[in-house]
């Protein structure tokens, strides 16, 4: 019998077909990976099962009983639990309150039983050895900790069917290990798991089978051993992608001569650390490290978001006290958080594109259509609101916004977060073209593989590994490998916090 | 009346049994002082020229009295039509030990408890401008009944008792407005051939009056007369200008703005009856005399407009009736005390140096005040 069976699920948002024909069935105790490009409908499927989104058509069977999921509450009653890609935590509540939000223990049937909330919360957090978080509000937690809490919140609900939507992308390796153990424990108790992720390694180590989605369709389901990485990627993008995986052979050049940018005694206020930072002309500087160790603080400080900083750009002194000043100095910043810091979602593509060049630098005459086509954006008209574009395409437009200003130095804070392989490659090529024009790129990424790839694409490159707000290692030439990055980003003795 | 923007009661709000203020029983207020009185003046609404003139008059009237030491201090508190705030102000004044309270109530019926508190402390309470009926208090208020009775009488005479008129009233629900409307009804009931086509509230606001009048103009083809209340006349005239029609017989108002305009329109047949902001100053005079222990003549006090059984009220008749030419023995001038009939000329003269918004004002002379006392 199947724990979960979906047949011909169809869902469209206005004109967008998020899901046109999604079918899959999962047995109890099976861990099924769901693999697909951005916007291929993975989260939408998850949300439908979670009762958050109402399907237009299709049939859902739980343990061979047909049932229509009416609401999140109903879905939970049926034993379905989903962790959300966007997190379902309330920043103003404490961790334990969040954990038990979905069924709050009561005393005499009326009042909240705070003691019990703390107790139960602590139990679960102990298993994930995160009990030190109990009592904090979610707002105080780092991104990875929040995703762990989101996962714990799911565990507490004792799911019969658990859907994990891209929580691992933000986690430390150790934490991914923990998640894996937990999932295996659920597996033993016969829970069916849908595991959504873009990371092949995880999928191979955790899952039994994989369902591949493309443009809202489930194109195939295979045992995890039957296909290798490239085969899976080809299936999900519908074209042959052997070129995706580079073979990083040969050395990477290191630029010298007068630096383009100097940041003497650069101070990261959150960590209270200080160090010199420099970028050579036409250089790619990758910033690696575990999340929350100051990588984004570094680039954001340089861009004047953390108060005034003293920089030397091409020898000239300048004090950058705000993004405005930074832009004036021909610097650029791309954030990985599209929704919050990237797109003007209700405005048109052309407006999004012209935001900096026209409105800040006062240069008019921007041929929107041409630029968009050049950036390889899938779009109908430059007048359409950007929210009607897909995630990856939205990000391409945001990047285009900065490329048209041809900046001297481009700071990128994990700009390809949650973007699928194809779109990610396009972005990489854009950046390389910029570097070839002589600009420099400082690139933060949570994906070490990506940094190594870029380093090998760029004419000259360095990779700085950060730990607790300090640069603990500078990798150049032959040393630029994922292994070195990993070992450097978790110094000995700090493997388990 | 014209002053207030807020509804105040038309029914008796007083809780205790009927009696007449202080009369008979020896007054306990003033604490035996003959001078150095502390007086609190709580003005319930503050928002238009009439009211500010009203407050200014009180303060002006107080100046000489403060100079000669009769008044130790006059506390003035305005509340913006906020009942709770006014009650709180009165509460504060009571606790700061005033000898007398002058109140222009936000709401006629909402002062029962606080007034009881004041009386318990032997504080003299004088209601002014907007009437309110509480036993053991005095009321010194303008005579709203006379105010519109005169104008209704006048328009009826102008129309020779026959024709179609529209009424533009004040703020529906407001005490003064209700009294006035009743007066007009009473008068017009004597003229069966005068038909009131419509009676719309103009809220004592020129703009409202103007747009209401425009609507009426487009709705009714022949309007022979307009019975209109204070400060709205210019709005009515403007409605006619916009429709470029000539205004019919209409009652006007007491703002110098209208009087001047009227003077510039030789063919306009109108009347202006003053509703004097000075009533507050008059109230102050009475308050002082009462504090000094003077006794009112038994016939000085009339029935409270809100409660016929409560004889505690001094009604101040309109000081001026303005017609093109003074006409003291016209039918509408009957049985009015201290009311002068003056010509438009004189009226406009009185307004020299005054703003258009200002109202034709007057006070009782000391002699007139004394004539109320034994």
């Amino acid at each position: 019998m199947n724990a979960l069976e979906c047949r011909r699920i169809q869902k469209s948002f206005g004109s967008v077909n998020a899901l046109c024909d999604a079918s899959l069935s999962v047995r109890p105790g099976e861990i099924r990976a769901i693999l697909g490009g951005n916007g291929s409908g993975k989260s939408t499927l998850a949300k439908i099962l979670g009762g958050v989104v109402r399907p237009n058509q299709g049939e859902i069977k739980l343990f061979d009983k047909t049932c229509s999921i009416r609401s999140p509450r109903h879905s939970k009653r049926l034993g379905i639990v989903i962790t959300s890609q966007e997190l379902s935590l309330f920043t103003n509540h404490t961790v334990e309150t969040n954990l038990l939000m979905c069924d709050i223990p009561r005393s005499i049937g009326v009042f909240t039983n705070r003691a019990r909330v703390k107790h139960v919360g602590r139990q679960v957090m102990d298993e994930l050895n995160l009990s030190h978080l109990i009592g904090k509000t979610v707002a105080e937690l780092a991104a990875n900790e929040q995703y762990m809490v989101e996962f714990a919140k799911a565990l507490i609900q004792k799911p019969k069917i658990l859907i994990v939507d891209e929580i691992t992308s933000a986690l430390y390796r150790e934490e991914v290990e923990l998640v894996k153990q937990m999932l295996f424990r659920l597996k033993e108790n016969g829970t069916a798991v849908l595991f959504i992720s873009h990371r092949m390694a995880e999928i191979y180590s955790i899952c039994d089978s994989v369902t591949i989605m493309r443009n809202g369709e489930t194109v195939a389901t295979v045992g995890i051993q039957e296909k290798n990485e490239n085969e899976l990627l080809s299936m999900m993008s519908g074209r042959d992608v052997t070129d995706v995986i580079h073979s990083h052979t040969g050395s990477v050049a290191t630029a010298d001569g007068p630096p383009l940018l100097m940041a003497p005694q650069l101070r990261l206020s959150r960590f209270g650390t200080q160090f010199d930072f420099r970028v050579q002309p036409g250089e790619f500087v990758g910033i690696a490290g575990l999340q929350g160790h100051g990588q984004s603080d570094l680039v954001r400080t340089l861009f004047g978001m953390r108060g005034s900083v003293h920089l030397k750009l091409e020898g000239q002194d300048l004090h950058v006290s705000s993004p405005r000043k930074a832009v004036a100095a021909r610097m650029a910043f791309i954030s990985g958080d599209r929704e919050k810091e990237g797109v003007f979602s209700v405005r048109s593509l052309s407006e999004n594109l012209a935001a900096v060049k026209e409105l800040v630098m006062g240069q008019t005459g921007l041929a929107a259509d041409a630029v968009l086509r050049e950036q390889g954006v899938k779009f109908a008209s430059a007048k359409q609101p950007i929210r009607t574009l897909s995630g990856g395409n939205q990000q391409k437009v945001v990047i285009g916004r900065w490329l048209v200003t041809n900046p001297k130095i481009l700071l990128a804070d994990d700009p390809t977060k949650g973007i699928d392989v194809q779109a990610r490659l396009d972005v990489h090529h854009m950046l390389c073209r910029l570097i070839e024009k002589g600009s420099s790129v400082v690139f933060v990424s949570s994906d070490d593989e990506e940094l190594v790839q870029l380093a090998h694409m760029a004419p000259s490159a360095r990779i700085l590994v950060m730990y607790e707000g300090k640069i603990v290692r500078v990798l150049t030439g032959l040393d630029i490998t994922t292994e070195n990055i990993i070992s450097a980003s978790v110094p000995r003795g700090a493997r388990f916090k | 009346g014209a002053s207030s923007n807020q509804g105040t009661s038309s029914q008796a709000g007083n809780s205790e049994n009927v009696s007449t203020a202080g009369s008979g029983s020896t007054p306990t207020w003033g604490h035996g002082k003959k001078s150095g009185f502390v007086i609190g003046f709580a003005n319930g609404y503050f928002g238009n020229t009439w009211r500010s003139q009203f407050v200014q008059d009180v303060k002006n009237a107080a100046k000489p009295l403060e100079a000669d030491g009769t008044i130790k201090s006059l506390q003035v508190a305005n509340s913006n039509a906020d009942v709770s705030q006014q009650i709180n102000q009165l509460n504060t004044m009571i606790n700061s030990g005033v000898d007398a309270l002058m109140i222009d109530p936000v709401s006629a019926t909402s002062l029962g408890p606080i007034i009881a508190k004041a009386k318990a402390k032997g504080i003299l309470v004088v209601i002014t401008n907007d009437p309110a009926a509480y036993s053991g208090t005095y009321a010194v208020v303008g005579n709203n009944d006379a105010f519109w009775r005169i104008q209704a009488e006048w328009i009826a005479k102008q129309l020779k008792g026959k024709g179609q008129i529209v009424e533009i009233t004040g703020l529906s629900g407001n005490t003064a407005d209700t009294i006035r409307q009743n007066a007009a009804k009473d008068v017009l009931s004597k003229y069966p051939n005068i038909k009131v086509l419509a009676s719309v509230p103009g809220k004592w606001d020129e703009a409202t009056a103007q747009s209401s009048m425009s609507t009426l103009l487009s709705t009714y083809k022949n309007i022979d007369g307009i019975l209109e209340q204070d400060v709205m006349a210019e709005g009515v005239l403007r409605a006619y200008e916009d429709a470029n029609a000539t205004p019919p017989v209409m009652t006007g108002d007491y703002t110098f703005g209208f009087l001047r305009k009227w003077k510039s329109m030789p063919n306009l047949n109108s009347i202006a009856v003053s509703y004097a902001p000075g009533v507050g100053a008059d109230a102050l005079e009475f308050t002082i005399d009462l504090l000094k222990g003077k006794k009112l003549k038994s016939d000085s006090l009339q029935a409270n407009p809100l409660n016929p059984n409560l004889k505690n009220t001094i009604l101040i008749d309109p000081p001026y009736v303005v017609t093109k030419d003074a006409n003291p023995n016209a039918p509408w001038m009957k049985n009015l005390k201290f009311t002068k009939s003056i010509s438009l000329e004189e009226a406009v003269k009185l307004g020299q140096g005054k703003s258009d918004g200002a109202a034709l004002d007057a006070f009782l002379t000391q002699k007139q005040v004394d004539s109320f006392f034994q």
Partner: protein
């Protein structure tokens, strides 16, 4: 307005597919207000013949013009996003009316000075609003709400509650008809609408305004000066408010403290009925103007019916509620 209807209708019937046609009707921001005002006009005519004659329509349009002008500032503030809203409009208008009257002091020659002074004061008030909101971090609703009492207080303190000076002919002329229902007020309002329409859609300030309204953080990161732009927007709202007050006093001919306090919430209602989202980043002045017409039309119909005040307010409230339910509902939580 009638041209607009024509356009709308054309747009709809030109669409082949029935379902799509309906979706346009549903999603078109102007249509509801256009239909509503026409229905109301017809209703008024039925209830009291002569309601739809030139003079009365002119009068309605005149009143609506003032509201529309007030709504211009409100629209821009709402577009600026960040919960942007200006509750001080009514108070500023009242101030404009009273101070305007006393600056002019009956002499037409003083009109220009009065305008200049009002612009300055309006800007100053707007600046204080912007400062409180952008630098101190007070929510717009609260900041402007409290500015209301400050401004009213200032007006009382300045005028001593005594609006001095007659209103000169030139100013009174705004209420005068030109041809048919067209009055100077209407022309003035249209001029202002056009002017600010251009400012919003053609100038770089206007473009910034929309972007900031759409996403504050993204704007900041793009180097757009959010604080500056927002503050300027509140200043514009203050200036428009003050001038609207002057125009109002031209129309009514006399000034009273707080004479315009109703305009605060009315202007917001007008903006929303006109299809502008309170979320910011989107919005049109035409919509606001149409909203103003609907609201004015509604009030005058109810006056024409001659209901007692209580019932009138009741009906007004219910009608507004219906319009909102029909046209400005947030999407369902379960998509």
């Amino acid at each position: 307005m009638f041209k607009l209807v024509e356009q709308q209708v054309k747009r709809i019937i030109s669409v082949p597919n029935k379902r799509l046609r309906w979706s346009i009707v549903r999603n078109n921001v102007y249509l509801p207000s256009v239909i509503a005002s026409l229905v109301l006009l017809g209703l008024g005519q039925v209830i009291s013949p002569g309601f739809a004659d030139f003079n009365n329509i002119g009068n309605i349009l005149a009143v609506a013009s003032i509201l529309a002008i007030a709504a211009v500032g409100q629209t821009m503030v709402i577009v600026s996003g960040g919960e942007g809203i200006d509750l001080s409009v009514g108070a500023v208008m009242s101030m404009g009316a009273l101070l305007g009257a006393s600056f002019i002091h009956g002499e037409a020659s003083r009109l220009p000075i009065a305008v200049v002074l009002l612009v300055l004061i309006g800007a100053a008030i707007g600046y204080i609003n912007g400062f409180g909101i952008q630098w101190v971090g007070i929510p717009p609703l609260v900041m402007t709400l409290i500015m209301t009492s400050v401004v009213n207080g200032f007006t009382v303190a300045y005028t001593k509650g005594q609006p001095s000076g007659a209103i000169p002919k030139v100013l009174l002329a705004v209420g005068q008809p030109i041809v048919g229902p067209i009055r100077w007020l209407l022309v003035l309002a249209i001029a202002i609408l056009v002017a600010f329409g251009i400012i919003m859609n053609k100038t770089s300030y206007g473009k910034r305004l929309f972007l900031i309204g759409s996403n504050r953080n993204a704007a900041l990161l793009s180097g757009i000066s959010v604080r500056g732009t927002v503050t300027v927007t509140y200043m514009i709202s203050g200036v428009i408010g003050a001038l609207a007050g002057l125009i109002l006093v031209g129309y009514t001919g006399n000034a009273q403290l707080q004479m315009a306090s109703d305009y605060t919430l009315l202007s917001i209602a007008a903006v929303v009925i006109g299809g502008t989202k309170l979320a910011g980043g989107e919005g049109t002045l035409v919509g606001a103007a149409l909203g103003a017409i609907v609201l004015t039309m509604l009030t005058s119909v109810l006056v024409a019916v001659g209901l007692p005040q209580g019932v009138r307010e009741l009906v007004q409230g219910l009608t507004l509620l219906l319009i909102l339910v029909a046209y400005s509902r947030a999407p369902r939580l379960r998509q």
